[in-house]
Amino acid sequence: MIQTIAFYLFATIVIASAALTILARNPVHSVLWLILAFFNAAGLMVLVGAEFIAMLLVIVYVGAVAVLFLFVVMMLDVDFAALRAGFARYLPIGVLLVLVLAAEMIFAVSAWSAGAIALSATVAPIPAEVPNIVAIGTLIYTRYLFIFEGAGLVLLVAMIGAIVLTHRTRSGVRPQKVSDQVKRRPQDAVRKTDPLVGQGVEL
């Protein structure tokens, strides 16, 4: 009973906030609706018993990715008139996308009603009575070790790529050398002199 209520609650909010993500005029509001959608999707994950995935969804998407999204969008100076101008130009592509999505949905539903894929055919059956962190960990680090490490390598390359692309060395800047700052003592910085009138000191 309470599961059903919770499911319909989460599902409704996911769909509504997903719709509002694309309908909202203000891009910041769009990102916030997106965050709400992520959050409720995590709720749905909890309902099907995948609490680990749910928490990851919140930590990674809501806690990190969406913060950066919001960060960027907040700083944009959005010209709303320019945003609305391209409606007629993008209409054909939009219609095409809608048609493709609708066709896929019809295809999926008819394939599903023709008979679901038997669960016994899953590659790695879900062990009963094991917390799903343990289950995922066991699979990732034994059966799918190489694929998992491959994915890690791809991410590493992407990260290095991002750093290489954005990092630039400029000449003529004086970066802080923290070790020098820490090493500096009062006697290095202060000089006591007794200059004659009208002569000043040599700096």
């Binding site: 928490m55 919140v58 930590i59 809501v62 913060v67 907040m74």
Partner: protein, 347 residues
């Protein structure tokens, strides 16, 4: 408690009522604790600055926080005319709610936990990563430059320190072998020489306990990392445009978060509700008192630091997070997992 109510109302009804009562049993004392802890905070700063601190309202000024609460409650809520109304009002509510949410998984005793979930630690990480939204939204919705600067600072600061906090938690999880906070506490029983409780006494984990304590100060935006509300630069930071209860909610949320971080320090490294030493007579004292004593100790450390350490510069803050804590904690994950691999799990 669930069984008691289930006897009258059936399983669903009993569970529902028991959960509601559990939530109230956590949230209401927490509000009271926040009020008293603000008073304690001010008294501690006052003592360190050789002042008296609040001493007028009630005996020893004990009722000062309630008087302040009543005062902000009676004030007018001012919403700036060019602010984004909805978000402006939602922001403090988010901060406050998120500060309460994470308490659901903190164990107060052997059986005293509202939600004994397997992913307790991940839940805490998830919820604490939401805390930044309250601040970002308040900064943006205020439509004013100082709150906005503050929001940007807060976002960068929280995201940076979450990374090292995550790695510190990984070392604890590796050692305990579980994400469940209750089990993590049980794993600390007799951790050193068979009778000292707490991961912090383990030489391999002690540096992480220190990193976690400092990172938790940065994560909650407490001094010396309170760059988000540096009053000499940003007026009052993200709270500048807020007044009345919307301001009070930020205040409550902030202290709720501080208490939560103290509880996490106690739970993850100092044995939670376990007494410091695994000695039978000490277990006569209910676990909740040990936990409270540890929380209060860490709160004292927080206000001690606030009273004595000058505020960091922003670049120093970022340097500490990314160039010192991140490599250190990452290396420590490697070290701890290597050690456990060699000793516990067999080469």
């Amino acid at each position: 408690m669930t069984d008691f109510f289930a006897g009258y109302l059936g399983y669903n009804g009993g569970w529902f009522i028991a959960t509601i009562i559990g939530i109230l049993l956590i949230a209401l004392p927490l509000m009271l604790a926040v009020a008293m802890i603000i008073y304690a905070d001010r008294k501690i700063w006052a003592a360190m600055a050789l002042r008296r601190g609040p001493n007028v309202v009630g005996p020893f000024g004990l009722l000062q926080s309630f008087a302040d609460g009543l005062k902000v409650f009676l004030k007018e809520t001012i919403i700036p005319s060019s602010a984004n109304r909805g978000l402006f009002l939602i922001a403090p509510i988010i901060t406050f709610t998120v500060a309460l949410l994470a308490w659901a998984v903190i164990p107060f005793g052997p059986e005293m936990v509202l939600a004994n979930v397997n992913v307790g630690l991940l839940y805490i990480l998830a919820i604490s990563s939401l805390g930044v939204y309250g601040i970002i939204l308040s900064g943006w919705a205020s439509n004013s430059k100082y709150p906005f600067y503050s929001a940007i600072r807060a976002a960068a600061q929280m995201v940076s320190y979450e990374v090292s906090i995550g790695f510190v938690l990984v070392t604890v999880v590796l050692w305990a072998g579980t994400f469940n906070l209750g089990d993590i506490i049980q794993m600390q029983r007799g951790h050193i020489f068979g009778f000292i409780n707490g991961f912090a006494f383990n030489p391999l984990l002690f540096p992480m306990a220190v990193v976690f304590l400092i990172s938790s100060m940065a994560e909650t935006g407490r001094a010396p990392f309170d760059l988000t509300e540096a009053e000499s630069e940003l007026v009052a930071g993200y709270q500048t445009e807020y007044s009345s209860m919307s301001f009070a909610l930020f205040w409550l949320g902030e202290y709720g978060n501080v208490l939560l971080m103290c509880a996490l320090n106690a739970t993850l490294f100092w044995g939670g509700w376990l007494p410091p030493v695994d000695w039978a007579p000490l277990y006569i004292v209910p676990g909740i008192f040990w936990l409270f004593a540890k929380i209060l100790f860490f709160f004292f450390v927080f206000s001690w630091v606030k009273a004595t350490v000058p505020r960091y510069r922003y670049d120093q803050l970022m340097r500490l997070g990314w160039k010192i804590f991140l490599p250190l904690s990452l290396f420590w994950v490697f070290l701890v997992s290597g050690y456990l691999m060699l000793t516990r799990y067999g080469a």
